[in-house]
């Protein structure tokens, strides 16, 4: 394991595939899809080595594993350093798992410029994985921004009728948040360099996350409370827009409605998690005092998001928009868990990030299935579909219930753990949870309303009479998503287990802050 740079392999395999696709003939769609699928599957298989090879015990100095470290821009102290820990492990796996599924779905949903689509998708995969495994702030930032480009193009080229507006909004909104983060990264770099230059003159500084963190915790770099809060705020804004936390969510429905199915799956499945991952990795870890200071306010936004997203989702007539707003609600739970600032909350948030990726990704695929057949996403156009598409109806029900948080399926485990964490947090407890559980009721309301309108009732619309049930490809993609949905619902302990040490590590700063108060 020590010799094989496995993270680099996972990171660059999709890009290699994209380069290979450039050589492929432009209009051979089938070839492009197959090549992309093979690359994606290969990446997934390689990434399976991570959970099997990952071992960490509480009390380790660092829980980062598979670490790679190469100098990159030595004059600035930027390095090519990668690593994976219990926080990012499952997120990387989620990305590599969703990639082949998404590519498989393009057979049915992408019909123009297929090769270019696959190239962008593979590049996007590299960028997303890069965000999760970068241990260098500059490298992280570059991957972070690079995710925007393929996604914007995916929306802008393969999107719906209002795609240019949506793509521009997506790009500008998320970009404007990230710019502040860049300022914060540079600020942190400068502060760190200057602090250490006192002891060792001529120190060039570093962007290395682990080093900066060690110096922060070791006391070599001490942040003034105001500075810490400013830095926290800059990082937070970038991540809050990405999550999206209420009230920064308005780019999301537009982007989802216009994005092609595969784009929506990746957007909801992985891109939003960049935000929750960033909150855990940077805000909580680097700025524990500021996190504690801001937690109640952010938790209020999260709870508002939970309820607001659910109510707005209820009022939608477009299925995709409904699922998009449901993401606002669900991501509110995740942020609530993170800012519970305890072990249960954070590990629940990580698990719920995975769960949301699986079930919302599946929901977007499900909407895509109907859209490909009827070219409309208006719920009123449907009704009684269960009769003509029984398998599809059954799978949709399972996914819907997972999203609504039915015990025995994955969504419940995440939600419950998050709520338990938030309940145990002394600053949150009763009043916050009293509102948050309303989200559980409302989730059932809007999701079952969608299910009822589309699948139950009489089969009135004559155009729906001869809809075909799932084809083997669609069945494969959806069934592949259902397996982890059930597995994580019944035996989530295997997912929680590798997180333990790393979540503990994330929270050490906060624990010290509490103790020192």
């Amino acid at each position: 394991m020590e010799t094989l740079p496995i993270l680099s392999l996972i990171l660059w395999l999709p890009t290699l595939g994209a380069l290979g696709l450039l050589l492929a003939p432009r209009d051979n769609a089938e070839l492009a899809r197959r090549m992309a699928l093979i690359v994606a599957l290969l990446t997934f298989v390689v990434s399976l080595a991570l959970p099997f090879g990952y071992r960490a015990t509480p009390g380790d100095a660092s829980t980062m594993r598979f670490v790679e470290n190469l100098p990159w821009l030595p004059m600035f102290g930027a390095s090519y350093s990668l690593g994976v820990d219990g926080v990012s492990l499952w997120l990387v796996l989620l990305t590599t798992f969703l990639l082949p599924i998404v590519i498989l779905s393009t057979w049915d949903s992408v019909h123009t410029q297929v090769r270019n689509f696959q190239i962008l998708m593979l590049l996007l995969a590299t960028a997303m994985i890069g965000v999760f495994i970068s241990l260098d702030l500059l490298l992280f930032y570059i991957f972070w921004e690079f995710t925007l480009i393929p996604m914007t193009l995916l929306i802008g080229i393969w999107g719906g009728s209002n795609r240019i507006y949506a793509a521009r909004k997506f790009f500008l909104y998320t970009f404007s948040g990230s710019v502040l983060m860049l300022v914060a990264i540079i600020g942190l770099y400068v502060l760190h360099r200057d602090a250490l230059a006192i002891g060792q003159p001529g120190y060039t500084g570093t962007f290395n996350f682990t080093t900066i963190l060690a110096n922060l915790r070791g006391g070599a770099l001490q942040l003034d409370a105001t500075i810490e809060r400013l830095l926290f705020g800059a990082f937070f804004l970038a991540f809050a827009i990405k999550v999206p936390l209420w009230p920064f969510h308005t780019w999301l429905p537009d982007a989802h409605v216009e994005a092609p199915t595969a784009g929506s799956v990746i957007l909801a499945g992985v891109l939003l998690k960049l935000g929750s991952y960033g909150l855990i990795r940077f805000n909580l870890t680097l700025f524990p005092e500021a996190s504690r200071w801001a937690a109640p306010a952010i938790a209020i936004l999260a709870v508002i998001g939970i309820i607001y997203g659910a109510i707005v989702a209820f009022a939608q007539s477009d299925m995709k928009k409904l699922v998009a707003y449901s993401s606002v609600s669900h991501m509110g739970f995740i942020v609530l868990g993170i800012f519970a600032l305890n072990h249960e909350g954070v590990s629940g948030a990580i698990l719920q990030s995975i769960n949301h990726g699986l079930s919302t990704g599946a929901l977007f695929l499900i909407v895509g299935v109907l859209y490909e057949r009827r070219h409309t996403r208006e719920m009123a156009e449907y009704g009684g579909i269960w009769k003509v598409m029984p398998v599809y109806g059954g799978i949709t029900l399972l996914v819907t219930l997972s999203s609504a948080g039915l015990p025995g399926l994955n969504g419940f485990i995440g939600e419950y753990t998050i709520m338990q964490g938030a309940f145990l947090a002394p600053e949150l407890s009763w009043p916050f949870l009293g509102f948050a559980v309303l989200g559980v009721v409302l989730a059932a309301v809007y999701l079952l309303r969608m299910y009822q309108t589309v699948f139950m009732g009489d089969l009135r619309n004559p155009e729906n009479q001869d809809l075909n049930d799932l084809n083997p490809r669609e069945l494969t993609t959806l069934a592949a998503l259902c397996l982890p949905i059930i597995a994580l619902g019944l035996y989530p302990a295997f997912a929680f287990e590798p997180m333990q040490a790393s979540v503990g590590e994330v929270l050490t700063g906060i624990a010290t802050a509490v103790a020192g108060r």
Partner: protein
């Protein structure tokens, strides 16, 4: 030994899996599904036999299979148990469940989705078993929501019908309201006790006490930073009570149950009469230690039960649909059980739960037989005189009705009497009076129903009534026997059930009150005779689509009873519609114009700022030179003045 109890829920689950993935033929589906539930019943009997062989204090078999949730301090095992309380519930679920499975083979014959029906039914049994066997609150909740899901699937089984799909969603959503409170209750339990296990579990050699055993520790503690000094037990038990009002269809959340009758009739018998709806009563009985610690909650429990019994009982009088009478009657009887819990008479509650499970299943299956034999007729105005065409159904129905009315010596008499006697001996006078009145009403509407269905002349001649087949009548007879002798499990002289439950509930047998029993019996006989007499005398006045004879005297009140005191209308007006309006306001005004308006406003602001800045880019070199000079002057001035 311990592995044996896993078979009880596992066998029906195997049936579910087989019916979903393997079986495609109706006959195989019915046989496999019924066979596995029967097998589960047999295993349960064996396990309980083994259980009763243990010394009284050790009667609890527990088996943990794996860590379910295991992160940080939150440890929840995936474990089940079998103790005396669970045992009686398991027998009810698998026993009545098996009979209803067999009955369903006949009732659902020829339905195009019958395989799926049996799959759902098997899943229901599995989930119900998890509900009663869970060794911690979260497993109980897994079953709790699982049966809710099956209820949704089975109410909406004929999903093409708008009223079925509406009722299914309504049932799930209303239950979810209770479930949210339940979740909050669990969070509070965990936060206060550090465990969700009911009783002590040894994990890896460490013995950890369950929260029920630790209740005395938290009395007097306060909740939250602000809400001092409310005792924690009150908060927790009240939240659990809200959960129970959802599942057990109590005031104010009972509105889903009458609509749930849109499902197939065996489903109504199994889920909405005998088993699932009693989940709330079971849960409160299991958490008896928590409830008993809070007199405040207990009086709420008592009054909710009493009010529900009365409201639903009066509503049952005015129904025309054969199943809706039984549905309201179920709500009313559940009210009796909840009231018993509120009085602290948990054994009486479980006793009534068991007998009610038998005779209400009998009544529902009888109603199903009537519906089946009259070609899907449910309106009692179209029936009449069916006792000749359907003798077996008639006699068994009579037994069920008598048991429900509380006529000696049928099962319902003993259990209801135990509740009333407890109210009397503990001086709950107002509650006793209302409950007694309700039991008279119960007898009255059963008399009315029997008269309307089986006596007089057939009022609609569009169908030819016939008796149902053996596969349906045999379960009826079996249940009728149960309804006759079921009371024997806890007679005032033997009180076997009280003794059996003693390790869990620690209750002494209540005293038998002969005067009360006599009055209750006389009342039951009188009221049911009155109901029967009024509706046979006035049978000629009942027309298809017409009004009830009593309508002449009670007028609008009758309408109010028929609509169950207008609760549905109230909720639609004060909750559903405002919520819809709020939703569409947020979605079509506030979100696009308020929040997104702000975002776009920032965009426009930058756009306009750009317009302004663009003026400087005029292309005139002299302008640039001027600005350049001004800039140089400012910078130089700054450097010279401030940075020395």
């Amino acid at each position: 030994m311990e592995w044996l109890i896993w078979l009880i829920p596992l066998l029906p689950f195997i049936g579910f899996v087989l019916n979903v993935f393997v079986i495609r033929r109706e006959r195989a589906a019915g046989l496999v599904a019924s066979g596995l539930v029967v097998a589960s019943f047999v295993v349960a009997v064996l396990a309980i036999a083994a259980l009763s062989g243990l010394p009284e204090e050790e009667r609890r078999i527990m088996s943990v299979s794996w860590h379910w949730i295991n992160t940080g301090a939150l440890q929840v095992p995936f474990g089940i148990m079998l103790d005396p309380l669970t045992a009686v519930m398991v027998l009810l679920v698998t026993g009545v469940g098996a009979l209803i499975h067999v009955y369903s083979i006949g009732y659902m014959h020829g339905d195009p989705r019958v395989v799926r029906y049996f799959a759902y039914l098997n899943l229901f049994i599995t989930m119900m078993l998890f509900l009663v066997m869970g060794n911690n609150m979260l497993i109980l909740f897994l079953g709790w929501e699982g049966v809710g899901l099956c209820s949704f699937l089975l109410i909406g089984f004929w999903f093409e019908r708008a009223e079925a799909s509406d009722a299914a969603v309504k049932a799930f959503v209303v239950n979810r309201i209770g479930d949210a409170a339940f979740i909050l209750g669990m969070l509070a339990i965990y936060a206060s006790f550090g465990t969700l296990n009911f009783y002590e579990v040894s994990v890896g050699g460490q013995v950890q006490p369950g929260f029920l055993e630790r209740v005395p520790e938290i009395i007097g503690q306060t909740i939250g930073p602000v809400w001092q000094p409310i005792a924690l037990t009150t908060a927790i038990s009240f939240l659990l009570l809200i959960g129970a009002t959802g599942k057990s269809a109590q005031f104010p959340l009972f509105v889903w149950l009458p609509d749930a009758m849109a499902g197939p009739t065996p489903v109504s018998a199994l889920i909405h009469a005998a088993t699932m709806v009693t989940g709330g009563v079971y849960m409160m009985t299991r958490n008896e230690a928590l409830f008993a610690a809070s007199p405040t909650t207990q009086s709420w429990v008592l009054w909710i039960g009493v009010l529900t019994a009365f409201i639903a009982g009066t509503s049952a009088i005015a129904q025309w649909d054969i199943k809706r009478v039984l549905a309201y009657s179920t709500v009313s009887q559940l009210g009796f059980m909840v009231a018993a819990c509120g009085m602290g008479a948990y054994v009486a509650a479980i006793f009534h739960l068991l007998t009610h499970g038998i005779f209400k299943a009998l009544l529902f299956l009888g109603a199903g037989s009537v519906i089946h034999g009259t070609h899907e007729t449910q309106d009692m105005r179209k029936m009449g005189g069916l006792r000749h065409a359907m003798p077996t159904t008639y006699w068994t129905y009579l037994v069920g009705a008598g048991a429900l009315a509380g006529i000696v010596p049928l099962a319902g008499f003993w259990s209801k009497d135990e509740i009333l006697a407890h109210a009397l001996s503990h001086d709950h006078w107002p509650q006793l009076i209302i409950l007694f009145l309700t039991s008279l009403i119960t007898a009255f509407y059963m008399g009315r129903q029997v008269a309307l269905i089986f006596f007089g002349q057939q009022r609609d001649s569009h169908y030819h009534a016939h008796e149902s087949g053996r596969v349906m009548t045999v379960p009826l007879i079996a249940l009728a026997i149960g309804a006759i002798i079921g009371g024997a499990i806890n007679l005032p002289w033997g009180h076997w059930l009280t003794d059996w439950l003693k390790p869990v509930l620690h209750e002494e047998a209540g005293k038998f009150n002969l005067a009360l029993a006599l009055i209750a019996t006389a009342g039951a006989v009188g009221a049911s005779y009155l109901g029967w007499w009024i509706y046979t005398r006035n049978a000629a006045k009942i027309k298809v689509g017409g009004k009830d004879p009593a309508y002449r005297y009670s007028g609008d009140i009758w309408d109010g009873l028929e609509e169950a005191w207008y609760f549905d209308r109230l909720y639609r007006r004060i909750i559903v519609r405002p919520f819809q309006r709020l939703g569409s306001f947020l979605a079509s005004v506030f979100d696009p114009q308020g929040i997104d308006g702000l975002v776009l406003g920032v965009g426009v602001l930058f756009g306009q700022a750009g317009e302004q800045v663009r003026r400087f880019q005029s292309g005139y070199v002299r302008t640039y030179a001027l600005i350049f000079t001004a800039g140089v002057v400012i910078v130089l001035g700054f450097v010279l003045l401030f940075t020395r």
